[in-house]
Structure formats: C-alpha cells, structure tokens
C-alpha cells in the first residue's frame, strides 16, 4: 500500500502544471474561477491548445492520437487541469463518440470523424433522452425508418447539452418496432445542418440556456451513418456508460470548490469575525471536507484497481452518487455563506460577471444561488442517483 505518488508521477505533474501555466489564457481562467458562462469559442480555444500539445485525448489509443499515459498519469493530468480552473473538456466527441467509433465504427467512419473530434473542428452533441423516456431510456420513441440508402428520422431528443453549438449529433433511434424494446435501437450519426432539424432552447432554473430540445421531422440520414449493426444501439449505449464515467466523482473540481468556499467564507463577516471562524459554519465545512476525503480515497482505490488491470464495474455508481452529493452540498454551503446576498438575481452578472457595473453585494455572490438551483440536475442526469442505487443493489449486492 503506497498512497503517495512516485517521483516520476511528481515530475509528470510538474510538467503538466508548467504547460498549463504557460499556455492557459488568463481571461479564460478568470471566467472559470468566477463561475461565469463559457461560450463555444472559449471551449474550442482551450481544446485546441491541448490538441496542439497532443494532450487532448489521453484515454485514446496512441495510434488514434492518444498520449499513452498510465491511469495515474491521466488522473494527475485531470487533477492539474481542474486545479488550474481550465474549462472542462466537452465530452461528447472526445470522451463518448470517439471510443464508440474506435470500438464499433467502420474504418471509413473512423477516418472521417476522428480527426475533427481530435482537433475540435467538429462539435458533437448527444441525442439520448426523450421527453417520454427519462431514466427509462429503452422506451425511446424517435424512429429511423430504413428507406433505400437512407433512414427517415422523426422524433425528438431532449436535454441536449450545447445542441445549439453542435455540428453533428449521435443519436439512439428506433429502427425496428417489433422486437424487445432494447433490440430495436440503433446508433446513428446525424448532421445538424440536415433539413428537418430544429433546435429549441430550454431555459433551466438558473435562467441560462445550455440544454435544448432537438426536433427531427422527416430528416434523411444516409445509411453509412449507422454505427455498428442495426439494433446494436443498446449495446453501444451500455459500452458508453463505462466511458462516460471517467472522472465521474469530480474530486478535483470539488477540491477546488472547497478552496473557493474557504476564500469566500474567509471574506464574509459573521458576528465580528470571518464566517470561516464561525464554528457552526466551520463544522459543516469540515463535514463536507471529510466526505470529500472519503470520496477521494475511494476514487483512488478504484483508480489503483484499474491501474492493476481490473475492470471498473458498478463501483462507478458509488462515485456518481457520492460525487454529486458532495458537489450539491458545496453549492448549498456557498449559498449559505453569502446570506442575504444570495438573493439578488442578475442574468448578465451570472453569465458575464459584473464587468463595469458595481456589483450588488460581493462580486462573487451573483452566481451562487443559480448554481445551487442548476446543480440539482447532477443527481438526475447520467443515470439518476436512484438508478445508481438500483444498480448497486442489483449488481453489487445481488438483491
């Protein structure tokens, strides 16, 4: 049992840190640290910086543009990115579709799509959920009827993150009505510029536009855009479930948020001293830090098992549940920290910061309550926490 990093690991960490320091644009960093909105350009800019260095896809095989790093190195890399407040890597192309194409795609699909994913020249979206199919994904209804050399797609996808930025979308669609409902599902790539596609924004409880509903009305999709066999969609979706769980615990991001709490609580006043010195608040924070430590070491145990060649199974469900619990608790403590000044709501300040305007209350306050409201989604999406507990109960406990 060796819970410290090796000297090689430490050297690698220093290399990553140095690179970020030298190459991460300061104006981007300020936005991320203040919790402001990033636009498409922001994400792409940072991803291209990493791509230029060859570090954009550490989990990909080297022959496709990966880095060849060990799981521990990848972990360190993620830690450093997060600690430096870099924008998250948009996962739909790099973390999701990429591995699917490598596993199930044809050579020509790989050749056509992977380079643009790697270079962030194509923005991908994910088309899974539907208005009637939430946690019960297999009941999805979007149809893709085979007609000669193409499919005719009709239906709708919902909760499409950054659907309004997307060039392409990969979708689970129903290509057959007759079989067991999982079996009629296929995995299809659709050009967002195709006629018949429309994107309607969904405004979330924080007032922001990130997710969308995407409508498909008689959209013609060439059959060559099918990934794998017809009916293989469910298998691919389950394969992806594993890949989606990279860094599912979000430990590094939560550690950074804990520092933010300490900074803010250190500036807030309570009864003549800082809120951070208020025992009642401090205890809540300590409790949170301890939960986060428990999560961190559990995450490291899983990482260590992975590095030893073991398959990660339903342990990922634990990381999802506890990870989001910690994240949500962080947002609560931030709201509590600013007292009355959690209340003013200014959409511009939330998105872009106060800029030239005088802030209402402390300048860090405007984003806190909206983030708290918005982050309730984290225990709903990606397989709700209820679904995760079902998985643990069935797959781990055999109930």
């Amino acid at each position: 049992m060796e819970l410290n990093f090796t000297a090689e690991d430490q050297a690698f960490r220093a290399e990553v840190r140095d690179f970020i320091e030298a190459n991460y644009p300061i104006e981007l960093k300020r936005k991320v640290e203040a919790g402001l909105e990033l636009g498409k350009d922001d994400y792409v800019r940072w991803q291209k910086i990493l791509h230029a260095k060859g570090w954009i896809a550490p989990k990909w095989p080297v022959e496709f543009g990966g880095t060849g790093w060990s799981p521990t190195q990848r972990y360190i890399f993620e830690e450093e990115l997060t600690a430096a407040s870099t924008p998250r890597i948009i996962p739909f192309g790099l973390a999701m579709l990429g591995p699917v194409l490598m596993e199930y795609g044809s050579k020509s699909q790989q050749a056509r799509y992977l380079p643009d994913i790697l270079s962030s020249d194509t923005w991908w979206a994910q088309g899974y959920s539907e208005p009637g199919a939430g946690s019960d994904l297999a009941s999805l209804k979007t149809r893709a009827e085979p007609q000669g050399d193409h499919y005719l797609v009709n239906g709708s996808k919902i909760w499409t993150t950054y659907g309004h930025y997307a060039d392409w979308i990969f979708c689970l669609v129903r290509t057959s009505q007759e079989e067991k409902k999982q079996k009629g599902i296929s995995f299809l790539l659709i050009d967002m510029n195709d006629p018949g596609i429309s994107v309607a924004p969904i405004i979330t409880a924080d007032g922001k536009h990130v997710v969308n509903q995407v409508f498909f009305e008689d959209v013609r999709v060439p059959k060559e855009n099918l990934v794998g066999e017809e009916g293989a969609g469910w298998t691919i979706a389950k394969f992806l479930l594993g890949h989606e769980r990279t860094n599912i615990a979000g430990v590094a991001a939560s550690k950074r948020q804990v520092l933010r709490i300490k900074e803010i609580a250190g500036r807030e006043q309570s009864g003549g001293r800082s809120l951070l010195q208020d025992q009642r608040y401090r205890d809540k924070l300590s409790q949170l830090e301890i939960e986060l430590l428990a999560l961190e070491y559990t995450n490291l145990r899983v990482l260590s098992a992975e590095a030893a060649g073991q398959q990660i199974g339903p342990e990922a469900s634990l990381l999802k549940v506890k990870g989001t619990e910690v994240q949500q608790r962080i947002t609560e403590l931030l709201v509590e920290a600013v007292g009355y000044y959690a209340l003013p709501y200014d959409l511009d300040a939330l998105r872009f910061g106060w800029q030239e305007r005088e802030p209402i209350g402390p300048d860090y306050a405007a984003v806190l309550a909206p983030h708290y409201f918005d982050w309730r989604k984290s225990s709903i999406y990606g397989g709700s926490n209820e679904i995760q507990k079902n998985i643990i109960s069935k797959a781990v406990l055999g109930l």
């Binding site: 939430g134 409880a205 208020d278 009642r280 007292g339 009355y340 209340l343 709903i380 999406y381």
Partner: protein, 376 residues
Amino acid sequence: MDFSFTEEQQMLKDSVDRFVQNEYDFDARQKLAATDPGYSEAHWQTFAELGWLGITFAESVGGYGGSAVDSAIILEAFGRGLVLEPFLASVVLGGNLLARAGSAEQQAACLPQVIEGQKKLALAYFEPEARYELSHVTTRAEFVDGGYLITGRKGVVLHGATADWLIVSARTAGGPRDVAGVSLFLVDAATAGVETRPYRMVDGLMGAELGLSRVRVGSDALIGELDLGLEVLEWALDYGIAGVCAEAVGCMDRLQELTLEYMKTRQQFGVALGSFQVVQHRMAEMFMACEQARSLAYMAAVKVDSAPQERRRALSAAKVYIGQAGRLLGQESVQLHGGIGCTDELNVPHYFKRLTAINAWFGDESYHLGRFAGTE
C-alpha cells in the same frame, strides 16, 4: 387548546384561496414577475378592497384588529400561488412596526394610506457585511438643526424601490455593533439623497440596494424611542418570520400536491413512478415534514405577541424547522420530477427558489439555532 380557525378566519382563507386560484395561475405569475414593478398594482388594489392590507391593524387607523394568525392565513394562501405583491414588506414588516412603535401622528399619517393601498412601506434594516446581526448598523443619523441627517447604505431591501416610505435603522449612538444606539426613522422615499437600485431576486420578488446621502428628516421622523430601536425592529422581524413560515407552508403544501400528482401520472418502466416504494417513502417523509412545519407555523403566529424570550424561542424554532423542511421539500420535488424539474418553465423549481429565499430572510437555520439556544 384549539387549532381551528374562527368563522371569520375561515372566510378570509377561502377568499384568499379563491383569489390565488383564479388570478394567480403560474403563467400569469411569471408574466407579472417580468414586468417593471414586478407585481400587479391592480391586484394590490384588490387586496386593499378585500381588506387584506388592513387585517392586522387597529380599527382606529382603519384596520380590522386581526392578529398574526390572520396575516399567516393570508400568507399561507399566497405561498401556494407564489404571490409577488409586497404584502410582507408593506403590511407585515413596515405596517406592523409602525403600528407598534410609531407615534399617533405617524400612524395617522401613514397607516390609512397603507391599508387603502395608496402608499407602501418598506423596511430597510440590513447592511452589507451585517449578515444576520441586527446590531450591525453603520448607517448614521446625526442630529442637526432640529432634525436628522442620515447617511449610509442598506442592502436587500424587500420591495424597497416601489415603497413610498422607508423605515430605516440608523445609529444615533455607540459603535458599529452596539446593541444600544440604534434608532428607527420614517423616511419619505422621495427625499433628496435617497437612492434606490432595484433588482429582481432569485424567487422573482423585487429587492433594492439603498443609498442614503445626508438625507434630511425632521425630528418627528423618529419612530419610537431614540437609541432603543433594536427591540422593536427584532419584534417586527419576528413578525416577518411568522409570515414567511406561513408562506413557506403554503409553498410546501403546493409542492407536495404537484409532486404527488406527477408521481401518480408519470410513467417509467411501464408503471407510475408513485408505485415505487422508494418514491412512496420519500413522499411520506415530505408529508410528515410539511405537516410538522405547519404545526410550527401556527405556533409561530400565535407566539408573535408573547414575552420576548418565549417569542424568540418559538420563532427561531419555527424558522429552523421550516428552513430544513423547505429544503427537503424543494430538493426532493425537483429530484422526483427529474429533468423537467430543473427547467424555468415548470412551476416546481420556482417554489424551491422561494423556499430557498425564505431560508435566507431574517436569519438562516444556523443563526436561529444559535438564537434558540440563547433563550434558555
């Protein structure tokens, strides 16, 4: 020992419930929230006509001689509809404070117009960096030429920009956090040197930052005794606590109904969500929390006029419990609704936001846990 409403109270409740039912569907509410004052002046006139704005005031000033229970009845019903009008600001906080501590002249000058809906009050007590400490008052009122010059800043004044009169706490003696030396002043919002910066809040209600720059008021602007304003201010905020507790119960009750309905209709895996035992037990927890919150909200309303320590103990207990119950109901309702529960277009998250805001008003759970222990 009797928890039932009088006949008059039952009629009042029915009348407010009917108003909310008919005039305050969610879409109409959202449209109102997006307007400039953030509420409806027409509704406000209706409130006046129905006598709601005078419910707690003495008949001598044109009121109906009711109690905190009556205003709780109104606010619980308002909670169910997420009503936006400044009832809490003008009637519960401002009006009651003036009725308790204002001179006969001040009352006669203001309360009839408040009751008739022609003028509004707002209470400006919070200052940036004060958190929940009432004695943290740095705004100063200097006695000059037979009147006062008030200078300072007040934060998050509920409906502060649409008020005609502001009740302002200011220091007339002592240092920044001394308990003694705080006085209350009635300030016409149109006075030179008064500046308000209005804004919308997360729950759709309106707040304002208030700047006071050598604002001149007469000596008759002093409310109650010089330097001893804190006691009456605390009482008024406790009245406000009773009010938001009742409102929170209305929010929770409605959230519970909405979620229950959704659980009975929304299908997943071929059955209604409500057929899952985990959902059932969580709904049972929500039910229990809501009922217990209601019990404490009644207690809170009844205890507003008790002796100070008994009042503080009861009001703090209610505020702590309702803060926690509100969080439970809000978070669980969103969770059980799934993705749709996180969207702006559904009413559910707006109840959650109002409950979250209520927890921050007048002291959060931590603050009141401390005040509760201090009443022994």
